[in-house]
């Protein structure tokens, strides 16, 4: 896709979202759309890691948490400007990913899964136990909504604009990267690591770069999450969320920019659908227990029928 066409597409999406923000009144629907954008950002990063670096991360929730807590603590406890704290959160996400990836990508094998699994657990325990800063299990309150001058992003409709605005900006920037020296090196790495190296691509450094970029976009989503809910506690940032992000990427497709967003939309809608339908099917109140079973079945079906994900299907159709 040419840069012009890509930006036109993004502008079209922006108009659509802007309209939706003005027209949709249900906070339930708005909330879902916001979460599709936030999870989409995180899944976009992970899809690049899985698609280009060829490794899976089982600890993306930790980078989401780092984004949420860095921006949350800096604003709520230290009175920082929200945009500044969000920038700090993005930087923290990138640096954390860089440090985790540094020893991992030098070695071959699926070490990233192990390292990030451990990292996710460590971050979770720090959040729970470092009460003086994070508020511990009971969480951190009083995070101010983001504001532009006098305009505060404190309603769901306004947050929808901000979240989708950020997602579209990330998509635009990522699209720029795909169409550049770095993007070609990434696709070369995906095609043949040996040939990419021979052509002068420092593949270890490149994989580290993808992972740091994913850490940054995930932390951005986390920071937006904190300023949207104005309250955070550790429980949503556990292993289950990391796995959910992997599911989004598998459903949407790897190494494609829209795949992660598509996957996020499916998972969010599916979760809500299951929550609405399961109580009707079973007499018990254990619907939440069945949720995971349905997810498992959907995931297996996709792996068998659509290994390239939905984005792969779209590519085949094109």
């Amino acid at each position: 896709m040419t840069p012009g066409r890509r930006w036109a597409l993004l502008a079209g999406a922006a108009v659509l979202i802007g309209g939706a923000g003005g027209m949709v009144r249900s906070t339930y629907v708005l909330g879902m759309l916001i979460f599709i954008a936030l999870n989409g950002m995180a899944a976009l990063g992970l899809s690049l890691v899985m698609g280009f670096a060829g490794q899976v991360s089982l600890g993306q929730a930790a980078f989401y948490a780092i984004g949420a807590y860095v921006s949350g603590v800096l604003t709520a406890s230290y009175g920082w400007n929200g945009w500044l704290s969000m920038a700090a959160a993005v930087l923290a996400g990138a640096v954390a990913a860089f440090l985790v990836g540094l020893p991992v990508f030098r070695l071959s094998g699926l070490l990233l899964a192990m390292a990030t699994l451990g990292f996710g657990i460590i971050v979770y325990y720090v959040l729970v136990n470092w009460s003086a800063v994070t508020g511990g299990p009971s969480g951190l309150t009083g995070i101010p909504p983001l504001a532009l001058g006098g305009f505060r992003f404190d309603t769901d409709a306004r947050m929808l604009w901000l979240a989708w605005g950020c997602l579209l900006a990330v998509l635009g920037l990522a699209g720029n990267v795909v169409d550049s020296r770095i993007g070609r090196a990434l696709r070369a790495l995906h095609g043949s690591p040996a040939a990419a190296e021979a052509a002068g691509v420092a593949t270890t450094k490149l994989k580290l770069g993808v992972f740091a970029a994913a850490g940054a976009t995930t932390a951005l989503a986390g920071a937006l999450y904190a300023h949207y809910l104005t309250f955070i506690n550790p429980s949503p940032f556990g292993f289950a969320f990391s796995v959910e992000l992997v599911v989004m990427v598998v459903l949407g497709g790897t190494a494609s920019l829209w795949g992660g967003v598509l996957g996020a939309a499916i998972v969010v809608l599916l979760t809500e659908g299951i929550r609405a339908l399961l109580p009707l099917l079973s007499a018990s109140h254990a619907a939440a227990e069945y949720e995971i079973v349905v997810f498992g079945l959907v995931l297996m079906t996709f792996m068998i029928l659509l290994p390239g994900g939905l984005a792969g299907l779209a590519r085949r159709a094109a």
Binding site: P3, L173, A174, N176, V177, S180, R181, I182, G183, R184, A185, R187, A188, G191, S192, A194, A195, A196, E197, A198, A199, G200, V201, A202, T203, G209, A213
Partner: protein, 257 residues
Amino acid sequence: MSAGALLDVQGLGKEFGGLTAVRAVDFAVEAGQIKALIGPNGAGKTTIFNMIAGVIEPTRGRVLFEGEPLPVRRPHAVAARGIARTFQLVRLFGDMTVLENVLVGCHGRGRAGWAGCAFRTRRMREEEKRLRERAWQVLAWLGLEDRAHRPAALLPYGEQRLVEMGRALAGGPRLLLLDEPGAGLNAEEHARLAALIRKVREAGTTVLLVDHHMDFVMGLSDEVLVLSYGEKLTEGLPRDVRRDPAVIAAYLGVEAA
């Protein structure tokens, strides 16, 4: 061993778990030469190539390029020193276009990083323009301009070999390593390949190639090194090497008298 050699291979050896693939081989490649490594299958040609290119670590010995030792186990760093290569089985980036494949070969000529690329800074756009000009130049030189926007995987095999050569040349290497460039080509394509390799040399790139197609190698090379069972059998001008009884024995598989 002359002091001014472009590539100076010194006592290079490789063992794979007790099996000796290459046993202390010495040779040099002078700037401006076309030199060939030949030998029967399993003689260690590709192993030597992979040691020079920094893919595998030698068990002993070292390789000097322009007087300085080459990095080990870091092929991209070897490429950055000005050594490009092709592979025995063509390894193109199949779903990328021919132009993009050659542009990857220009990677080392660019500096743009993540931020520069994401925000399309002016410096990045100027650099991108330079890289594209270079890639088009290479395509024109190889006569592949009309294939530029085709996915590389859809090209016929002979043209894929050319694209791989283009990718290797795009960086402007001082030494080009060709691993069996003639494999899978017919006689006519062989002749065209030989002409192209001469053209590469005339443009200022030294060539070291591995092949076992005798006629092709003998007609093309300035100097030939014959390997057998990981050892240097002989080295010299093609016409001398061709008459060497040890070489004939190695190729025909009889005991040397």
